[in-house]
C-alpha cells in the first residue's frame, strides 16, 4: 500500500511496518539515514557538477536503481546527469520528464508509472534554482515510503551543498575582482602621492610660518576656538530630555524620528490621523520646534531613536 507521505504521529518509514519482513528494511533505512548526515561534510569544496554526480551515485547505492536522472537549473545554466551513462537519456526518464509538474516541496503524488517502470520523482525549488530528480527501480513496491523519505533527504542535502558551492564561487570571484580593483587604486594613489610631494612640502612650510605668526602675542591671526562635537561619542550616556513627555508622546516622537509619516504612525499605533496630528502639534509646542527635522534631531539627541535600528 502506498501513502502520500509520513503521517505526523508516525516515525520515518512507519509505512513499511505492515509486516515483520519490513523490520530489516526499517533498520537499513535508519542506518542509511544516519549515513546521510555525513553528506554535507563530503561535499564541502566540491564543484556543483561533482555534487550532482555524487547525488546519483548515492541514490544508486542506496536504492539499487535501474536508471536515474538529476538536473539542477539556475539562471547561469543547467547541470544534468543520468545513468546508465550514454549519449542519450534512458527512454523512461525522457517520458517521465515530459510528464513532470512545476516545483513543489511536498508533492501529493511523487511517483510515475510509465511503460512498466515505477519512477520516483522529487522536484525541489530553492531561491532562483530548482532541481528534478528521477529514480527508476524494478524492485517490487518501489518507491515505498522509506525510499521516498531517503530520496527527499539526499536531494535536500545536495541542493544545499550546490547552493553553497555557487555562493562560494560568486564570493571568490567578487573578492578577486575587488582585489584587482584595489591594486589599481593603490597604484594610482602611489603615483598621486609622488606627484604631490613637492607642492605639499611647500604648503607645509607656509602653514608653519602662519602658525608662528599666530602664536606671537601681537599676532594678527588667532587660532579659532575648537568646534563643538557635532555627533555624540558612541556609548555616551543618554541625556534626560529637558521636557516631560507622556509615554504616547515619546512613542510618537520615536516613530517620527525614524522617518515614518503621520499616516504610517497612525497605522502602526492604531490611532486616527487626527490624533497623531494632535500629538505631533503638541510635541512641537513642548519641544519648542517648528519642523519635523528639528523634532527628529531632538529625538536622536535624547535617545528616543535608536540609530542602530535603521
Amino acid at each position: 500500500m502506498r501513502s502520500d507521505g509520513p503521517a505526523a504521529d508516525d516515525p520515518p518509514g512507519a509505512g513499511d511496518r505492515a509486516s515483520p519482513a519490513s523490520l530489516p528494511a526499517l533498520r537499513r533505512g535508519s542506518r542509511d539515514m544516519a549515513a546521510l548526515l555525513a553528506l554535507p561534510a563530503m561535499w564541502v569544496d566540491r564543484a556543483p557538477a561533482d555534487i550532482a554526480t555524487d547525488l546519483l551515485n548515492v541514490l544508486f547505492a542506496m536504492l539499487r536503481l535501474e536508471s536515474g536522472y538529476v538536473r539542477f537549473d539556475d539562471p547561469a545554466g543547467s547541470i544534468e546527469h543520468w545513468r546508465p551513462a550514454g549519449r542519450e537519456r534512458p527512454r523512461a526518464i525522457d517520458l517521465a520528464l515530459a510528464a513532470a509538474p512545476g516545483p513543489t516541496i511536498d508533492p501529493a503524488t511523487n511517483t510515475i508509472d510509465i511503460e512498466g517502470h515505477h519512477i520516483a520523482r522529487i522536484v525541489q525549488a530553492f531561491q532562483d534554482e530548482h532541481c528534478v530528480v528521477l529514480a527508476s527501480c524494478g524492485r517490487p513496491g518501489f518507491p515505498g515510503d522509506l525510499d521516498l523519505y531517503l530520496m527527499r533527504v539526499v536531494v535536500s542535502q545536495a541542493a544545499t551543498a550546490i547552493l553553497t558551492a555557487r555562493r562560494l564561487d560568486a564570493e571568490r570571484s567578487a573578492r578577486q575582482a575587488a582585489e584587482a580593483a584595489l591594486r589599481v587604486q593603490t597604484d594610482f594613489l602611489a603615483k598621486l602621492a609622488d606627484d604631490l610631494e613637492s607642492p605639499l612640502a611647500l604648503l607645509a612650510a607656509r602653514a608653519t610660518e602662519a602658525r608662528a605668526l599666530a602664536s606671537h602675542p601681537g599676532g594678527a591671526v588667532r587660532a579659532a576656538a575648537a568646534e563643538p562635537a557635532l555627533v555624540a561619542a558612541p556609548h555616551a550616556p543618554r541625556l534626560a530630555p529637558p521636557v516631560a513627555l507622556t509615554p504616547r508622546e515619546a512613542e510618537v516622537l520615536g516613530l517620527l524620528g525614524q522617518g515614518l509619516s503621520n499616516k504610517e504612525i497612525a497605522g502602526v499605533l492604531w490611532l486616527s490621523d487626527r490624533t497623531v496630528e494632535r500629538h505631533i502639534t503638541g510635541l512641537y509646542r513642548k519641544l519648542g520646534v517648528e519642523r519635523r527635522s528639528e523634532a527628529t534631531a531632538f529625538a536622536m539627541r535624547y535617545g528616543l531613536v535608536d540609530p542602530m535600528s535603521a
Binding site: A8, D10, G259, L260, K263
Partner: protein, 213 residues
Amino acid sequence: MTVMDKPACRPVSFAGGVLDRYRHVCAFVNGREEEDALLEPFVREGFASGDTMLYVVDPRNRATVVSRLRHAGFDMPRLLARRQCEVRTWHETYLREGFFDRDRTLDLLDEVFGVSPLPRVRLIADMGWAAEAKIRDALLEYEAYANAVQPKYEHVAICVYDTARFGADVLIDVLRTHPVALIGGVLQVNPFFMPLPEYLAELASRDRQPIDA
C-alpha cells in the same frame, strides 16, 4: 486524521518553494540582508493576493519594518490604514506583562488566526525575543504546541531565527518542532521534525537549562 493530514489548501510561495499542507515554517537566516531577500517575494505575493501581513518585531524595529516596506515600493499608509499590514511588538505578543507565558501566547495565536479564515494572515515573527529572554524550554514547548494550533487554519506562520543570536543546540531543537524548515536558503520538508507527543517526552527527560545567547 491527524492534524498534519489536513487536506491541501491554497498554496503559498515561500523561498522558491510552495507551502501546501505544512504552513508553520522556521526560517534560519544569517543577518538582515538575507532576511529581507527571503521575505520580500513572500510579502509581495501576500499583498497582491489580498492577504494580511502581520509582523511581530523587536520594539526597536517597528518603524524599520515600515520603512523597509515603503522603500520596497509598498504604499504603507494605505496598507496600514486598511489593516492589511500590522506591526506588533514582542511586548504586545510574546512578552506581554514583561514575561513569556506559553499558554497565554498559544491562546493569542488561536485568537489571531481564528478571527476569520479570510483574509489569510501571513505571520512573520522575529523570534529574537527568546534569545534575549533566555527561555529555551518554554520556547520549544510553545513551538511544538503551535503545530496543533496552526494547522486548523489556512494562515501561514514564518518564525524567523537569526542564527547569529542562538546557539546551535537551540536551533537543532527548533528544527525538531517545525514540519518545514528553511536552512541555508533551501526550503524543505523537515526530515528531523518530531511529532508533539514524542517531542514533549524528550523535553521532559532533559534537565531544564537556560540558553546562552
